[in-house]
Amino acid sequence: MNLKPETFSRIDEVIPHYPVKRSAALPLLHLVQEDQGYISQEAIEWIAAKLELQPINIYELVTFYPMFRQKPIGRRHIKVCRTLSCALMGGYKACGEFEKQFNTHRGEISPDGEVTIEFVECLASCGTAPVVMIDDDLHEKVDCAKARELSARIKTEAATRQ
C-alpha cells in the first residue's frame, strides 16, 4: 500500500488504543481516505490484513457508513445540510446556487474537477441554518449570496493553484 509515512505512523499509533484490533477499523478507514481521497479495493484488503480480518469485514463498513466512498471526488467537497431546520431557512436554495456556480449536479464531480456537491443530514448547527461544510470547515447562514461568495473563493483558490 502506497501511503504517506505519517499515515503509516498514525495507523500504528491508533491500533493499540483498543483492547481488540478490529475496533481500529473506522480510524484506519478515515486515515486511508484522508491520504488517498477514497477507499480502493486494495485499501480494503490492506486494512483487513492489517487488522487480521476478512476483506468483507471492511467492505461492509465502507458501504454502511456514508462518509466513506469508493470513488474519487472533486478537489473540494461541498456538503450542504438537507435536514429540516436548514431546509426551513433555505437550504435547498443554497444547494441549487452551488450547483449553478459549478455547473454540476449533486453527487457528481464538476466539469472542472474542482468540487463535488452533496446533500448531507443534520450537521448539528441548526441554530445558524442553513449550514454547509466545505472540506473540514463549517459555514453558517449560507444564503444564495453567501453561496456565491464561497464559490468565488473556491474558484480563486483554484486559479492561483494553477
Binding site: 475496533s23 481500529a24 473506522l26
Partner: protein, 452 residues
C-alpha cells in the same frame, strides 16, 4: 409572566470574549479544582452525589444518571468502560458542538470525575465524523490534560490511572443509539443490539460493562460534584433538576442556544420573549420540542389533565405556549423533551412537505436490521415524496398512519418509535392539511419554500 433569566452552568463561558479552549484558560477559571477534590473522596460518595442530584440524561431518553451508574455490573471482574456519546445527530440538536469546540476541558473534567466514580480505566469519546475540527480540539485538550497529569497514568500522584481516546464516527445517525454506538466502536456496522440481554451496563463494549453518557450529562456531573448533589437538586423543578440547554432552530427571530433551569421556562416564554417571536408578518404554526423524533405540537391545541404539584394533584389546561420545558410536562402532553432541540415552523410551511423532509432523514438513516423499520421508513418517505411531487391522493394521510402504526414496538431499537412518531403526530394533528394537499399543491406558488 415574563421569562426568567438564563442560568448558565454548562454554557457559562460559551461565546465569552477572550475565553479560549486551551488548558491555561481553563485553569485560570478554576478548572480541574473540582476533580482534585473529587479524587480525594471515595468513588461511592461521588455516585451518591449524582444520585442525590436527580440528574437525568441529556442525550434523549432522560434516564436518571445515578441509577444508570448503579446498574453497572461490578462483580464480573471485567474492566468497566465509559463511552461518551458525542455523536450529536438528532436533527435540531446543537449543544454538544459548542462544549466540544469551546470548552473541551470542562468535558474532560466531567469525564475523569465520572471515571473515578465508576472505577473506569479506559474512556472513549465517540464523536460524529462531521466534527473533524472538534476531534482535533479534543485530542489536543486530552494531550494537555495528560501532560498536566489530569489524564493518563497515576493521575494527580494517586495510584489511579485512566486513559481517554477519541474515536470518530463516519456519518451514520444510528451510531447515536448506545448499542449501535458500541458496535461501531468495535469496528462493525452500527447495528443496535437487542435488550435484553445486551444492556451496556452488563454486556457493552467487547462484552464488558459499559457506561454510555451524553456529553452534556457528563458536564453536569462536574457541577454536581462541585456544589454537592443536594444543592444541585434544588436547581430546576422536582424530578427535573438542574439546567438544560435548549436549542432553538427554524422560523423564529433569534434562533440559538439558551440554558435555563429545567421546568422554569414555558414554550411561550422561550419562543416569544427569548427568541423574539415569529418572523415579520408570520405566526407560529407548529413546534417540535425535543429533536425531530419528538411528536409535533400544533399551536392552538389544548392539553388538559391532572398533574402532581408538591403532594397535591391539580388540574391543568395548557396551550402549547403554557407548557413548561421539562421532561415530565412534555411527556404528559404526549411528546418529549428528548435532546432539547426545539424546531419551529410558521404559517408559511406546508406540513406535508415538512413531514416529507423528516421522512427522508429516517429512510436514509434506518440501519436496516428490522423489517418494520427498514420498509416502513422507506414507504413513508415514498408516500410523502409522491405527494410532494404531484401524485398525491386525499387518502394518503390514512395510508401514512397505517404504515407508521405498524413500526413502533416491533423493532430492536427506539429508532422504530423515532421514525413513526413524526408521521403519526403530523397526520393526527394536521389531518386536514394532508386531505387537502393534492388540491393545495396545484395552487402553490412556484417560488414557495422547498423542503423535499
Amino acid at each position: 409572566m415574563s421569562a426568567p433569566s438564563q442560568r448558565r452552568l454548562i454554557f457559562q463561558h460559551i461565546d465569552e470574549p477572550g475565553y479560549t479552549n486551551d488548558l491555561a484558560c481553563y485553569l485560570k477559571h478554576g478548572g480541574y479544582e473540582v476533580m482534585k477534590r473529587a479524587f480525594a473522596r471515595k468513588p461511592e460518595e461521588l455516585i451518591d452525589e449524582v444520585k442525590k442530584s436527580g440528574l437525568r440524561g441529556r442525550g434523549g431518553a432522560g434516564f436518571p444518571c445515578g441509577v444508570k451508574w448503579t446498574l453497572v455490573d461490578r462483580k464480573s471482574g471485567k474492566p468497566i468502560y465509559l463511552v461518551v456519546n458525542a455523536d450529536e445527530s438528532e436533527p435540531g440538536t446543537f449543544k454538544d458542538r459548542y462544549i466540544i469546540h469551546q470548552d473541551p476541558h470542562q468535558m474532560i473534567e466531567g469525564i475523569m470525575i465520572s471515571c473515578h466514580a465508576n472505577n473506569v480505566k479506559q474512556a472513549y469519546i465517540y464523536i460524529r465524523g462531521e466534527f473533524p475540527g472538534g476531534a482535533r480540539i479534543l485530542e489536543k485538550a486530552i494531550a494537555e490534560a495528560r501532560a498536566a497529569n489530569f489524564v493518563g497514568p497515576n493521575i494527580l500522584g494517586t495510584n489511579y490511572s485512566c486513559e481517554i481516546y477519541v474515536h470518530r464516527g463516519a456519518g451514520a445517525y444510528i451510531c447515536g443509539e448506545e448499542t449501535g454506538l458500541i458496535e461501531s466502536l468495535e469496528g462493525k456496522r452500527a447495528y443496535p443490539r437487542i435488550k435484553p440481554p445486551y444492556f451496556p451496563a452488563v454486556l457493552g463494549l467487547d462484552q464488558c460493562p459499559t457506561i454510555v453518557n451524553n456529553v452534556e450529562t457528563l458536564c453536569h456531573v462536574k457541577h454536581i460534584v462541585g456544589m454537592g448533589g443536594e444543592a444541585y437538586s434544588k436547581i430546576g423543578t422536582p424530578n427535573n433538576t438542574g439546567t438544560r440547554i435548549l436549542c432553538v432552530s427554524g422560523q423564529v427571530q433569534r434562533p440559538g442556544y439558551y440554558e435555563y433551569e429545567v421546568g422554569k421556562i414555558t414554550m411561550g416564554q422561550l419562543l416569544n420573549e427569548v427568541c423574539g417571536g415569529p418572523l415579520p408578518g408570520r405566526t407560529f404554526k407548529a413546534v417540535i420540542p425535543g429533536g425531530s423524533s419528538a411528536k409535533i405540537l400544533r399551536f392552538g391545541e389544548r392539553f388538559k389533565g391532572k398533574r402532581k404539584v408538591g403532594a397535591e394533584m391539580v388540574d391543568y389546561d395548557w396551550g402549547v405556549e403554557d407548557v413548561p420545558m421539562d421532561f415530565d410536562s412534555l411527556g404528559m402532553i404526549g411528546t418529549m423533551g428528548g435532546s432539547g432541540g426545539v424546531i419551529v415552523m410558521d404559517d408559511s410551511v406546508n406540513m406535508v412537505e415538512a413531514l416529507g423532509n423528516i421522512n427522508e432523514f429516517y429512510a436514509h438513516e434506518s440501519c436496516g436490521q428490522c423489517t418494520p423499520c427498514r420498509e416502513g421508513s422507506l414507504w413513508m418517505k415514498k408516500i410523502t415524496g409522491r405527494m410532494v411531487h404531484g401524485e398525491g391522493r386525499s387518502e394518503d394521510g390514512a395510508l401514512l398512519k397505517n404504515v407508521a402504526d405498524q413500526i413502533a414496538g416491533r423493532t430492536i431499537c427506539a429508532f422504530g418509535e423515532a421514525c413513526a412518531w413524526p408521521t403519526q403526530s403530523f397526520v393526527l394533528k394536521f389531518g386536514d392539511e394532508f386531505k387537502a394537499y393534492p388540491e393545495a399543491k396545484k395552487n402553490a406558488p412556484a417560488d414557495s419554500l422547498k423542503l423535499v
